[in-house]
Symmetry: C2
Subunit: 359 residues, 2 copies
């Protein structure tokens, strides 16, 4: 069997999945298709929860590997219909992440005696707010279905392993003042003016860059929204700024929140408020796990720290080491130029097959 | 005729005017009443433009004095109905400025041979945005009706003369940046962070305090609104702040605008914008005018600089010296405690009568 032939076949299967529209919140049709394919797989116990599908082997192996990804896409960019051009398939979700799903469906139904137990996972609503995530729905409703020793999510990483992820803490800082007429501003305290020192301090923030499991993280602190004002002739008595703090996985949420509050002490005073509006935990890279070590070592994969937040954090929260690993250029995801080539898909297929059969 | 008796009569007349509801944009009834009273005055030529009323003597005097005020009030504060308690009348608009209107109606119809020509003016919509001002409507439609050598507006000043007024320049400063994902903020430029140095500079502004005609002005520069932000995970590429600059009457609008722009040079860069959203001219105190000198000197009135913006600026723009002078405590205007006492109304009446008869 030539790599080219396999690659061509996976291009066609990827194109087929692209052509099943699955914009977030409209994943029923693709979930039906995926469920049907997996139910045809020998030795798989298939569960469906909403538009999420889980298929598990139960071979009594010492180790269980979860391999998954999401079925939804962002809105089309004039690329709703797949197009195969040579050894490249173009179309909405080609990289993010219909190519990975095509490989998952193939391996789930053809590798009948894997050396590890496998949990195949396809879930809905990844491209939207975390509160709506199909993965969160599953962890809430059937956490037993997601039990595993290690997890791999097929987000496009260009074939590298993106390890762990930084957490996100978002907080609204409300500064207070005292209203006055702007003709007599000395009678009041201008809360918008008080943003000056706060923003200067945030801008001067020196990011921590810890190295964990050989991955270099880089934190960030950014003001992402600002607002305030009462009327054109009023010294405003309130102003608020929303800060986003991305923290490396050597910190948990509580430590991150305490550190951010501590950082802001010099620019906050009595009556000011600090209100956390989003808490997304970080995930340690967990690269010490033998399955990840094998995947990386056997295939000489590049390893990168994940600076953004991803669904691997759901697994890390449960103590399951997890990484993003998938075919396709992440910078093309969500663009009209989204595409993936046969070699990348085949490489993804081959490394996973090796993981399932050669341990 | 005792001062007490006159005062009591003016209290009743003020109460009568309070009881004609005249919240801004609903001044027709009170304009009808005022027009009818003035048409009954001997020797007056009365013109009506919308809800504005002008009544003029035409005695061929060397000098014409305009005495006026507005007929509207803010919304009631549970005080829509007048109440006389001893020598005090309480109610919506008592000080701002039904008491002054009661005096205007009395003097207009009883002082039949004033030593100066008089233009009595009652106009609508002062308590709202300048664009809707009845005085602006009159200046646009019939500037001839407002020709005068000097003008006195009966805003509550506690019996002091508030001379001239500071101008107002309002401008939106838009700072630009470059969008990026907040996980990689070094790829972008955070426009909200750029507000830090701008707000620090505005906060550190040292106000000019020029003395003009013996009046000490005090400028101010205040941020009155701020806004910005794209999304929780995006380094924002734009942020804006609205600045209000109140400038002393030794500066005109053009000088004020140039000065503000110059002040901001160190904190603005290419791609940033400065957009003026309001230009209200300043008014020189004009206290050198003999009528104002006489009013102040004959009655030993206190003189203060007006730091806020008032309608005297409309007259100053036409080269007519103008001042606010009226009965009642300005700090009680617009409150549920609004009131004015008989002595204050009578003092206003007596000083104006003196001005009209004793020159």
């Amino acid at each position: 069997m030539s790599g080219g032939a396999v690659g061509a076949d996976l291009l066609a299967r990827t194109a087929e999945l692209i052509n099943v529209a699955s914009v977030s919140y409209h994943e029923r049709a693709i979930a039906d298709l995926i469920e049907a394919r997996l139910r045809a797989g020998p030795g798989l116990v298939v569960d469906r929860v909403g538009d999420n599908v889980v298929a598990r082997t139960n071979l009594g192996r010492d180790r269980r590997v979860l391999i998954g990804g999401h079925s939804d896409t962002v809105a089309p960019n004039g690329n709703a219909v797949a197009r195969i051009d040579g050894d490249v398939v173009w179309g909405l979700g080609a990289a993010d992440m219909k190519a990975a799903l095509a490989v998952i469906l193939e391996l789930a139904t053809t590798v009948v005696e894997p050396v590890v137990d496998v949990t195949w996972l396809v879930y809905a609503r990844e491209e939207v707010r975390v509160a709506d995530s199909g993965l969160r729905e599953l962890f809430d409703a059937r956490p037993d279905l997601l039990a595993a020793d290690v997890a791999l999510l097929g987000e496009p990483t260009g074939g590298a392993v993106e390890a762990g992820c930084q957490g996100v803490l978002r907080a609204v800082v409300t500064l207070t003042g005292t209203r006055a007429h702007t003709a007599r501003p000395w009678m009041g305290v201008n809360a918008i003016h008080r943003l000056g020192p706060l923003l200067a301090r945030v801008d001067a923030y020196q990011p921590r860059t810890p190295e964990i499991d050989g991955c270099r993280y880089r934190e960030s602190l950014q003001a992402v929204a600002v607002g305030g004002g009462v009327a054109g002739n009023v010294v405003p008595d309130t102003a608020e700024v929303t800060l986003g703090y991305r923290f490396a996985p050597d910190r948990d949420i509580e430590v991150a929140e305490a550190a951010l509050k501590e950082f802001l002490v010099p620019v906050m005073g009595d009556g000011d408020c600090f209100t956390v509006t989003e808490r997304s935990p970080s995930a340690l890279p967990g690269l010490g796990h033998p399955v990840l070590q094998g995947l990386i070592g056997d295939n000489r994969l590049e390893v990168r720290a994940k600076l953004g937040w991803t669904d691997v954090a759901f697994f890390a929260e449960q103590g399951i080491p997890a990484a993003n690993y998938g075919p396709g250029d992440p910078t093309l995801a969500h663009t009209a130029q989204e595409r993936v080539d046969a070699a990348a898909i085949e490489s993804y297929r081959r490394t996973l097959e090796h993981l399932l059969t050669a341990c």
